[in-house]
């Protein structure tokens, strides 16, 4: 019964969080966006005290239900483990905790978090990268198929979206994470959660003192070991009738499995600190870090959308990314420093950006954190989606009105590239599309009003949205591009 409740709740949380990464229309985010915001590490980065207090209390009362219900990576492992169980039943057994490894990794994690790489091991962001890099493309292809059929049925129910590779290194990280987590879950259930996951380690400090937890009634126990063999956390030691509550994720499988009803979910006096077995079994070693040499040859299957070149149509060269001295981060992030400090690189904003502006950075200092670029679209004035979804407080919520006055960067004109110069034609497309009215066309020869007109940027009014850069006819490098501002300002 309890197990069934846990399964349903977990399934709901997991599907809805996954939906957040798949849905490109932005509809689900207004209803379920909070599910990303109650994730532990993003809430911690956002200094969301309310959520943290609730999560701590939740763990102190119910144990690590966070790990078995709320955390999408945890539920993902349960799913893989469930598949593994079809292959071989009753396959787990008790293993002593590898506490020393957990603490080393926790320390390592703190060090990485200080460097801005905290999101690498953190479970929610790790899952986000998988969902955004691996699941979302499949979802979008499916959608495009429906759009294709809808078009033929004269329906506007579906529209097609571009599928493109936003960042190679992030994709590789997602693939590696997927493989490692899936292999670990297939073989050992929750090994990741109880060895590597920093959130798991933190919560385990609290779950030892949980008010409610599975308790073995030794008078009823017949030592059949069915519970131990089905404990995906490998934390039930039936020989000693003890449960390692630091590792128990309160999945209720043992309760459900016990033929004698010998395990109850109840309050029990705090046990004496467990004496973990000192000897490291060969088994434990195997469950530690698995060598992950098998890198996928993931090069070609996520290729950017095919270029459409038609005979009756001029070839359009693809735009290239200009060199930006300061990276561009979305309005709402206030400053590059604050953004880098908060972002957990979960890719949720990248997934929801409808204009294909956001993509993960490949720079080491901001690895996998999103940055903006305008080759495929620009930061449209009516859109503030990234600010609405960010769970980590890296992009604070803003309104459309706020956005129109937040300066994230400013446009820079490059005369050499301008078609007025290269093709000898009149243009002015940048000025025509500037939502801030920051660009004027002035005669190229001062004092000669008839001379070809060139754009000039009033930096004081420019908000850095990139309409000019994106719509500039010069290719591959635009004649006007946006340089980021380290600290955003309000104009």
């Amino acid at each position: 019964m309890l197990r069934r409740v846990r399964q349903i709740a977990a399934f709901l949380c997991f599907s809805l969080i996954t939906l957040l990464f798949l849905d490109f229309t932005g509809v689900s985010h207004s209803y379920f966006g909070w599910l990303a915001k109650i994730q532990f590490f993003p809430a911690f980065m956002a200094l969301n005290i309310g959520v943290l207090v609730v999560l701590v209390l939740l763990t102190l009362i119910f144990g690590r239900v966070y790990c078995s219900v709320i955390c999408p990576l945890g539920v993902f492992q349960d799913f893989v483990s469930w598949l593994g169980n079809k292959y071989k039943k009753n396959r787990f057994r008790y293993s002593p905790a590898l506490s020393w490894l957990r603490y080393i990794i926790l320390v390592l994690f703190v060090a990485m978090a200080l460097m801005g790489w905290g999101g690498l091991l953190e479970p929610y962001s790790a899952y986000g990268r998988m969902a955004s890099n691996l699941f979302a493309p499949l979802y979008r292809w499916g959608n495009n198929l429906l759009a294709y059929m809808a078009e033929r049925a004269d329906s506007y129910a579906f529209y097609s979206v571009d599928v493109w590779m936003k960042g190679l290194s992030t994709l590789l990280v997602a693939v590696v994470t997927f493989v490692v987590v899936a292999v670990l879950a297939w073989r050992g259930g929750r090994t990741y959660c109880n060895t590597i996951c920093p959130v798991g380690t933190l919560l385990s400090f609290l779950s030892r003192f949980a008010w409610l937890r599975p308790v073995i009634d030794t008078s009823k126990c017949i030592n059949c070991k069915l519970c131990e063999r089905n404990c995906k956390a490998s934390c039930i030691n039936i020989k000693e009738h003890k449960i390692d509550y630091s590792r128990c994720v309160t999945c209720m499988n043992c309760i459900d499995k016990c033929p004698k009803g010998a395990i109850r979910y109840a309050h029990a006096a705090a046990p004496a600190a467990q004496t973990e077995a000192a000897k490291t079994s060969a088994d434990g070693g195997r469950r530690g870090f698995l060598t992950v040499a098998s890198l996928f040859a993931a090069g070609s299957w996520l290729k950017a959308q095919e270029k459409k070149v038609d005979g009756g149509l001029a070839v359009i060269e693809e735009k290239k990314v200009p060199v930006r001295n300061t990276p561009l981060v979305p309005a709402g992030s206030d400053s590059l420093r604050s953004f880098t400090a908060h972002c957990t690189a979960c890719q949720l904003c990248v997934s929801v950006c409808p204009n294909d502006v956001l993509r993960p950075s490949s720079s080491l200092s901001r690895w996998m954190q999103p940055e903006m670029s305008y080759e495929r679209g620009y930061c449209r004035p009516e859109c503030v989606r990234c600010s609405e979804v960010c769970p980590a407080g890296a992009i604070r919520p803003i309104t459309v009105a706020d956005k129109s006055s937040i300066q994230m960067g400013h446009a820079v004109f490059v005369y050499e590239n301008c078609v007025v110069n290269t093709d000898g034609v009149e243009c002015g497309n940048c000025a025509r599309h500037c939502p801030a009215g920051a660009i004027q066309m002035v005669p190229s020869v001062a004092g000669v009003p008839d001379s070809p007109k060139l754009p000039v940027v009033n930096e004081a009014r420019c908000i850095g949205c990139g309409a000019c850069e994106n719509l500039c006819p010069a290719r591959p490098f635009s004649a006007i591009y946006v340089e980021g501002h380290g600290k955003h300002s309000v104009i």
Partner: protein, 469 residues
């Protein structure tokens, strides 16, 4: 339009039609009508193979079918018109359609070295060479639009190449192509045909019998049209190709001040007894894809006839019209047109007035007069100009052009416009990429101010996207 004007036109129309022609055709039509129930509707029944209305060319005595096959919008392997995208012409389909057309009496085929990205003549030649040479008439053009073909040698080479592509040693109908086009119609005409002596060369060719009929097609600057007709006694034009349909009859100038009403053009030809070949009877589909209220209005009178049939009947009802060209991409187009002309049921005076009223109604819709001829393409900056304009027209006709966010259907209409826009035009080829260089403008036979229209559409799309309507 005021009543007086209407009456004037009706009277004029009757005069132009000639009572005789109307009576004869009506009699033929009358024989065909059957009593009792029918297994198939008027729009799906069998098409007679021997009822095509024929017109006689006064100079050569050619018996020409009223339906002429325009080879400008040939089917591609993808099923669209071959001028879209980069697909090859579907030669098998072309052969099939040409065979079908000939079996139902069509014998006039109109092509040009410029059509279908230059592939139309070859395809036409392949399809027609499978039939006896005396069973069809070929019309092609000297399409020396580009300045690098203005030299005498290049123009003549183009003419000779047409014969080679078409696999013929004489051409039945040769046209000076699109006189009046360009930013300065007169200057361009002189450069293309006069200064280089090409017109004289063609007159010689006609004398030698390698051109059986010499004429010209006209778009744009009326001075060139008037000039060429003023020299009719010297050149003896065998035919002239003009744009005529019930919208352009009296509204061409209102749609665009630089164009001329078809009423004037036809009248001038009629005065000189020059047979008229009609192009754009459907305005590139704008008279078959019309707003819903116009559909209802037309279908109310002829429920089993297509909307397009009205336009064809309009063009075909003028007695001095030799043939009406239709660029048919699909077999259904061909069959529908055959139904209309096998035989033609000429418009009555009352129906003519009805169509003029319909045109007046249609003028209330602000459609852009683009016929999808693609002469403006390729745009050097990659924009798919006709696709953008046609999408706008389509939404206008379907009522998906919301002007106010408070209207009831705003959400659906907005979605239809924006989703449909991305479907019809790849994002990089949409109006927001138009820089306004204006290189397309001189090429437009309808003289649309293309950049201005694109910028207007773009501004509208922006307001839809930002929801500031």
């Amino acid at each position: 339009m005021d009543k007086k004007n209407n009456d004037m036109n009706r009277r004029k129309f009757l005069k132009l039609l000639g009572a005789g022609a109307a009576v004869t055709s009506a009699a033929i039509y009358g024989c065909d009508s059957k009593a009792g129930k029918s297994a198939a509707g008027g729009g799906t029944g069998e098409i007679p193979t021997d009822k095509m209305t024929m017109r006689t060319n006064p100079t050569t005595g050619d018996k020409v079918s009223l339906l002429g096959f325009g080879m400008m919008r040939l089917p591609s392997v993808g099923g669209r018109s071959a001028r879209e995208g980069n697909e090859e012409i579907d030669q098998e389909m072309v052969n099939e359609m040409v065979d079908y057309a000939m079996a139902h009496g069509v014998n006039y085929f109109d092509t040009s070295p410029a059509y279908c990205r230059g592939m139309s003549e070859r395809s036409t030649g392949i399809a027609l060479s499978r039939h006896p040479r005396n069973s069809y008439f070929i019309a092609t053009k000297l399409s020396n639009f580009s300045p690098d073909t203005w030299s005498r040698e290049a123009s003549i080479a183009m003419y000779r190449n047409s014969m080679k592509e078409l696999q013929v040693d004489y051409i039945d109908y040769l046209l000076l192509h699109g006189i009046g086009m360009g930013s300065d119609g007169m200057k361009e005409f002189n450069a293309r045909y006069m200064d280089n002596g090409v017109l004289d060369f063609l007159l010689e060719e006609r004398k030698a019998g390698r051109i059986r009929n010499l004429g010209f097609s006209y778009h744009g600057d009326i001075r060139v049209f008037d000039y060429l007709l003023s020299r009719h006694d010297e050149y003896k034009w065998d035919f002239v190709q003009i744009q005529l349909n019930y919208l352009d009859w009296r509204y061409a100038k209102q749609i665009n001040p630089r164009n001329t009403d078809a009423e004037y053009l036809y009248g001038e030809l009629n005065k000189r007894h020059i047979p008229a070949v009609i192009m754009e009877p459907l305005l590139g589909g704008r008279l078959s894809n019309v707003p819903d209220n116009i559909v209802a209005r037309l279908k109310e009178r002829e429920p089993e006839r297509s909307v397009a049939s009205w336009a064809f009947r309009f063009a075909g009802s003028f007695p001095d019209v030799l043939t009406v060209l239709s660029g048919m991409t699909r077999m259904e187009h061909l069959q529908d047109n055959l139904r209309t002309y096998a035989p033609l049921k000429p418009l009555t005076e009352e129906e003519f007035a009805f169509l003029q009223d319909t045109a007046t109604l249609m003028m209330q819709f602000d459609t852009i007069p683009c016929n999808d001829c693609k002469y403006c393409m390729p745009c050097p900056y990659g924009i798919d100009i006709p696709a953008v304009l046609l999408h706008y027209n389509k939404c206008l006709n379907e009522g998906n052009l919301p002007q106010d966010s408070r209207t009831e259907s705003y959400r659906e209409a907005r979605r239809a416009f924006l989703v449909g826009y991305d479907r019809s035009v790849p994002r990089l080829r949409q109006a927001n990429h138009c820089i306004g260089c204006g290189q397309c403008n001189p090429h437009c036979p309808q003289r649309i101010d293309i950049p201005a229209e694109l910028h207007r559409i773009d501004a509208y799309v922006e307001r839809l996207k930002q929801e500031t309507l």
